[in-house]
Amino acid sequence: MGTRNDARNCISRSTRILGGEIIADDVKTDGASDTSHLYDGKTVRSSAPSRKKAAGRLKSSTDIPKDAIPEVHVPSWIESFFGGPIVSSMKFLPANRTVTNLQVSSAGILVLLTALTLLFTPVSGTAWFAIANLIGIPIIGGVIHILIMVIGAIGGAYGIFQRDQRALLVSYVAMLLVTLRFAGSKVEFGFNLLPEEEILQKVLLIAYAVFLVMYFELTNGIIRFSMLDTSIRTGEVYVMGEGKIIRQYYRAIGITPVVAGVVALLTLLINLIIPAMVGIFDSVQANRLRESVELTSVYGVALGTAMVFTVIAAAFAVNLPLRLQQMQEGRANK
């Protein structure tokens, strides 16, 4: 698309022409019909369009052509920082069955997650607890703690049913914020009704973590499937075998958290796994390891993470996924 010099340039150029000798005084252009001298005696009925006429005509049709103004989205500074819109402004059509199912599941998970958060996250060790103690009104710490959880729950519920991504974002932040506390290497619970046994405690912790991740994923799924459904219904995308695709998602949502939970359990129980393995060779060393503060603390978990993820990294390094696929294809070919 071309552009034109600005009006000032145009004016100066025109003035130059008008002021110079280019104006042909000998060419008579006064009347529309007085052009016979130009065309071998023939009278020309058309003349150079007059400005008045043009201006008059243009008044009636000054609609902007559709392609004249491109749609431009000016990103906000936060969008620029992250490289695109954080929260999509897409308007969704009414929820279909898949989206409704996801909404109900998300709401269920949110209820469980809120309950578990309430059980697992005591106010002690949080920043607001410290501030409340500092000003001498400890109850404020508890109130803020509960308030953050309520914001997380209500924001989540609103976000789930209204499919509002901003509310969901607020809920995620609240749910994570409430867990930020100094715990001092000891698992503490908000209530004293929970079991004292270590494995059970860790299983419950993993259940909490899995629910949190499931909550992230399911609420994200609501938005994804709403977008997909809207795109299908507006003809932007065509879907073949929609049922199969949705079934695959449901299957993944069932399997992946279980796998993630098992991996996390292996990581958290490293203080039991390592002594058990060492115990095969040396029972004294195994006992020492069992009583080691480092292994039972959060640093033991760090060691476990390092070990488990080293194994996973090795699997990726030898391209295990592709080998598995080739194996499966080879089996199918037979």
């Binding site: 994570l176 949190l212 991740v213 879907v239």
Partner: protein, 438 residues
């Protein structure tokens, strides 16, 4: 394997929580981080599993080539036509084959040029394609603007169920097609050559000879065919009279298109070049249909010419050149006329399609042409109107430029050229009639 924004956020969150957990000695945070990392790792593992190997071929070559058995996704495309006129439609059939034994969830996007509109169907398909199965995606595109276009490549994407990671391949499958400028039906262009050729054509040139229009009566000369005898005139005058007809003859018509960058001033679909190419296509069709030979010259950053010729083939040659005319450069008209004048028969009609802007040599060039007795017709689509309609030009600027343009047109008319200030709403036939003084 590529990361989505979601997976990147999850990973960043997991790492941050993990580190914070270690710092705060908070097992709860570390546990959440570990679960999140495990979740991501498993999704990545599953995505890598769903590898996409792909190749692309045209549908016509599909049977002859069997050397792609190892690659699992194959795309083939067929177009209903490789040449259409503006606003024409092309049906596209894209066949996707899964040569793997494993079923795959694929996102397929057949890339179409941005200016094209999808009229029917969709070029973006999400599908579950079973092992050793194939499917067909059909859609129709509408081509609103002339030009050379390419459909492709085909983008195939496999991603995990959560949309965390994806594998993407571009199947290098391309199909080219050509969109010709649309044509207006012209009944009469009112343009005749003063120096017709000796071959018989469809234009009558006011000389007696073979033709269809009555010219005059003359006395019978032995050898005249009996069908030419005018029996009534014979009865009236008593002498044997025969009808004479005006000779139909062919002429050379030269179309000169201004494709300098200034000719694209205005919106994409409404600018001087778009109007000029459409007018040139219509005129070429008209003149070729009456058996004239038509030549084309386009000038922008270089001078491209199509030598004069007749027939349908010539029409397609001209249409192809017009489809590919790009607004570039700033070659003056004088350079063009100097280059082509030695190769054109004197007196041949020359039709110039130009916005008459930013070229100080226009007057000189037209003076030269007129001095050599060429019949010059100038159709000038006014970019002022396009810009004013698009509100890119304010009233003062418009008035000033309009005055300047009016002066230039008057001067060109003074040189004996037939000039028409062609406004966007005006039909080509009307503009031509206006230029020729009717």
């Amino acid at each position: 394997m590529a990361w989505s924004r979601k997976s990147a956020m999850f990973a960043a969150l997991a790492v941050a929580m993990y580190l914070l957990g270690l710092v705060l000695r908070n097992q709860q945070l570390v546990t959440v981080a570990v679960v999140l990392l495990s979740f991501l790792t498993y999704a990545a593992f599953r995505t890598n599993h769903a590898d996409v190997a792909s190749s692309g071929r045209r549908l016509e070559d599909a049977d002859s080539d069997s050397g792609v058995a190892l690659q699992s996704i194959i795309a083939m495309r067929k177009l209903s036509s490789a040449r259409v006129f503006e606003d024409g439609e092309i049906d596209v059939v894209l066949r996707i084959q899964n040569r793997s034994t494993l079923s795959k969830v694929l996102e397929v996007r057949d890339r179409v040029p941005e200016v094209m509109r999808i009229k029917k169907g969709a070029n973006y398909v999400l599908m579950e394609l079973g092992g050793r199965k194939e499917t067909e995606i059909s859609y129709t595109i509408e081509a609103p603007l002339r030009g050379f276009y390419t459909i492709g490549p085909v983008c195939v994407r496999v991603q995990d169920a959560f949309g965390l990671f994806h594998n993407e391949r571009e199947i290098q499958l391309y199909d080219d097609f050509l969109v010709f400028p649309k044509m207006e039906d012209i009944k009469d262009a009112l343009i005749k050559s003063r120096v017709p050729k000796i071959f018989t054509g469809a234009v009558n040139i006011r000389n007696p000879g073979e033709g269809t229009n009555f010219y005059n009566l003359r006395e019978y000369i032995p050898g005249d065919p009996m069908k030419k005898v005018n029996w009534k005139a014979w009865a009236r005058s008593g002498k044997m009279m025969v009808n004479e007809f005006e000779r139909d003859a062919v002429s050379d018509i030269i179309l000169i298109i201004d494709s300098r960058s200034v000719s694209e001033t205005g919106p994409v679909s409404r600018n001087s070049l778009v109007y000029s190419t459409r007018a040139a296509a219509s005129l070429a069709q008209y003149f070729l249909s009456r058996r004239d030979s038509v030549g084309l010259v386009t000038y922008g950053d270089e001078i491209v010419s199509v030598d004069r010729d007749t027939g349908k083939k010539q029409l397609y040659v001209i249409l192809t050149k017009l489809a590919g005319a790009m607004a570039k450069g700033n070659t003056p008209l004088k350079v063009v006329t100097n280059r082509i004048l030695p190769h054109i028969n004197r007196g041949s009609p020359i039709i110039i399609l130009s916005p008459l802007e930013d070229d100080p040599t226009i007057i000189d060039a037209v003076r030269d042409l007129r001095a050599r007795n060429f019949d010059v017709t100038i159709l000038s689509p006014s970019s002022l109107e396009f810009e004013f309609d698009a509100r890119r030009l304010d009233r003062t600027g418009y008035e000033v430029l309009k005055t300047e343009r009016d002066i230039l047109i008057s001067e060109l008319r003074g040189l004996g050229a037939n000039v028409m200030d062609w406004e966007p709403e005006m039909m080509l036939v009307t503009a031509l009639a206006g230029a020729r003084g009717f």
